[in-house]
Amino acid sequence: MKEQGYLALVLHAHLPYIRHPEHENFLEESWLYEAITETYIPLIRIFEKLAEEGIEYSITMSLTPPLVAMLTDPLLQERYVRHIEKLIELAAKEVERTKWIPSLHPVALMYQQRFNEARYIFVDKYKKNIVTAFKDLQDAGFLEIITCPATHGYLPLMDICPEAVRAQIKIGVNSYIQNFGKRPRGIWLSECGYHPGHDVFLKESGLRYFFTDTHGILNASPRPKYGVFAPIYCESGVGAFGRDTDSSKQVWSAREGYPGDYDYREFYRDIGFDLEWDYVHPYMNANNIRTFTGIKYYRITGPTTDKEPYIPERAREKAAIHAGNFMFNREKQIEYLNTLMDRKPLIVAPYDAELFGHWWFEGPDWLDFLIRKIYYDQDKIKLITPSQYLELYPKNQVCTPSMSSWGYKGYNEVWLEGSNDWIYRHLHKAAERMVELANTFPNANGTMKRALNQAAREVLLAQSSDWAFIMKTDTVVPYAVKRTKEHISKFNSLYESIKTNNIDEGWLSSIESRDNIFSEIDYKVYSNA
């Protein structure tokens, strides 16, 4: 092995569970559709192409249970097909409409081609289930897919009820096994949220590693010898990998990151907001509100509201340069680390997958260039997954990571502040009651069993970190508030009806079909008896 060090790229793919069978169209379902078109399919495309060309690479990717559940849900799959077909129709109109504007016309053609390709990959190639694309890439040895807590629950604020933490992890693992046909080796803790002691639950579920933010490792005790450039073991024996700042900042940072380059596509200027209402409104997923369509003609241009047209070739060229720059910096980092460390250093670079393509339109191109350049242009660094690194270096320092998250300010404040702190008395109570139910009814059958399983689903759905996050970031607050109240309220009703053995079967069926995540769930996971 001539390489001097390793780079672990980690993509965390997650969306909250949003599925509204009761409505023909639902605005927030577009999160999923946009992410499929703009992120997941472009990633599949580049990963497959690299594999076809015989380029070796190793990427770690988490696909959260709610995301997998949505991607494998027949209703949402059908709705995506409808969505992409409408987009294709709109793109064709755009190709015509922009005919006399030479600077926009090629961009319209680009969208038309991309949407057609998305449709081909989704419908023809993967028969509407793109999870199989990721599974195939894992089976072929290119991806290491890891799991996530069941509904992306924020575990540090669940610590009061350890059974709830355990259930989030166990169900996350079970859902993974069901979808990927083997046990996951690692887990992405939601929002990188680690609370000392939770590694014990990971151990119980057979998980070998997780990630923390930089300070989770740097502030660990005893002080980790290699900082974040090698994993540590918790006392439970589970490995903890810390995020490298520099590689994160170059992609994430609003001030210094690549995605802010003036040549890159402007995210906010979308024809959904730019064009005449009668023309665009048939393509809005919410009848009377302007929304994003995904067709965006402008580049960032600079700190101005007057944007200039997007030039795809130029943006692509910039993505190649940025990939080169990123690799160059990692090489320098590795060279320097080699003067300080007595083993080959590891740089861990985790990102939200939806950053690539959705927010940073050129992100998938950048990743493609980066993987190629690492393979062809140098031999100092090599891509690796955490499991592979642990195989190379099975002996690691034992330390306790510090409580931390990758949220703003590094701890729990994003999910525990004025806008959202009211949820915890309800979430905690529901979790406690769920444990009580599981202990009281150790062997339920029939309707009772279904009610108990549904109660577990409602608790889990209420626990999604996304609701607190949306409340804090002030985007679609009423939706997040409604979802939280809805699941808690359904849980409370189930709790009462289970306790009094008075279950309305019709009502149970209706909420089962509505909140249908985790068909294989077993409520006994909450038992501590």
Binding site: R97, S103, G257, N325, Y424
Partner: protein, 355 residues
């Protein structure tokens, strides 16, 4: 080190209230085209190339750019009414669960959050026990114990401080000042005679460390200087020299700037940027589009500006073009299915914008 005793001077608190930082999540990142990297500064070459491609072109056609048709506040209101309409069910959560309990959680190394619920039964029982008069002259407090060294027991009471709270409050943020300590909180009444009447005791939590551990593992030891270099690099400040304290403070800055939520990875499908950009001066935007429509025999072939178009089954057609400034000559040629007849009609359209 235990906390010094129950003096009020070293704590502060805020009552639970909204503290929204609008615009944080949807920050626009259109500042700066150059990736900055301290390591790169020392190397020539690649950074130079980045400059070459920075766009210098000016907008050539003023009819292309323009501004969006979008009103942020109206949009937000529309989304709210949309959600209210789509999810009409109004779920009510119980205000109380009938428990006597106090739960504390860690917000960060310096702050705890407490929420509680006290039943009327408990209040009545206390009232009976201490007498109505004493009860009415006492007020509720939170008593925060530092239980790092030892927990609260019958004969040993750890150091604590008190926090007076509102009668109606059911949650509170508590500034505990010291990281890496364990805490337990009592909610109770402080009587006129300064007797503390316990109502409910919380769970125990530990705040995280806010810096590097002093504990060094002999088996995994390296010299201080190398820690410094490694940790400095880990925080993204490249190669250089600084004390571990300075490295710690850089870490603090890093945490504020790098958090999830800095960029909308799951952005709302509606546009909501928040913040100052929403306030733009009075504005007007005008764009023009041209609709060309007509009809011929359903089986005829029609070309517009040389490109074939699709007819509807009834032989009609409609085309829509964004119309920039300047003149457009639009020959529309229909040819009958047998190729024998041909008609061309050519509208000429000019747009001229006067500002």
């Amino acid at each position: 080190m235990p906390i010094e005793s129950n003096k009020c001077t070293f704590f502060a608190s805020t009552q639970a209230k909204g503290e929204k930082d609008k615009g944080e999540a949807h920050m626009r990142i259109d500042i700066g085209s150059k990736p900055h990297n301290p390591i790169l500064k020392e190397a020539k070459g690649e950074e130079g190339e980045l400059d070459v491609l920075t766009m210098k072109e000016q907008l050539t056609d003023p009819t292309v750019g323009g501004r969006e048709i979008f009103h942020e506040e109206l949009q937000k209101a529309a989304v709210e009414s949309y959600i209210a309409y789509m999810i009409p069910e109004d779920y009510h959560l119980p205000e109380r669960y009938g428990d006597d309990r106090l739960i504390i959680q860690v917000r960060d190394p310096y702050w705890l959050h407490a929420y509680w619920e006290i039943t009327d039964n408990l209040k009545e029982a206390i009232k009976e026990r201490i007498g109505h008069k004493t009860f009415s002259r006492s007020y509720p407090i939170l008593r925060i114990y530092d239980v790092t060294e030892h927990d609260i027991t019958e004969n040993k009471r750890p150091d604590y401080f008190d926090l007076r709270i509102n009668e109606e409050a059911d949650s509170w943020y508590i500034n505990v000042w010291k990281p890496d300590r364990a805490y337990r909180v009592d909610l109770g009444l402080l009587t006129e005679n300064k007797d503390f009447i316990l109502m409910v005791r919380s769970n125990k939590v530990r705040t995280p460390r806010d810096g590097f551990s002093d504990v060094i593992d002999e088996e995994w030891m390296i010299i201080e200087d190398e820690y410094r270099k490694l940790y400095r690099l880990a925080i993204g400040y490249g190669i250089g020299d600084s004390s571990l304290e300075i490295v710690e403070s850089m870490l603090e800055r890093h945490r504020r700037e790098m958090g999830s939520g800095a960029i909308p990875s799951i952005s709302s499908p509606i546009k909501w940027q928040g913040g100052a950009e929403a306030k733009r001066p009075f504005w007007l935007t005008v764009q023009t589009e041209l609709i060309v429509y007509g009809a011929t025999e359903p089986d005829a072939k029609v070309m517009i500006q040389g490109d074939p178009i699709q007819l509807r089954p009834d032989g009609t057609f409609t085309l829509r073009f964004a119309l920039p400034d300047g003149q457009e000559v639009i020959p529309i040629k229909a040819t009958s299915s047998d190729g024998k007849d041909e008609i061309t009609i050519t509208p000429v359209v000019e747009r001229r914008t006067i500002k």
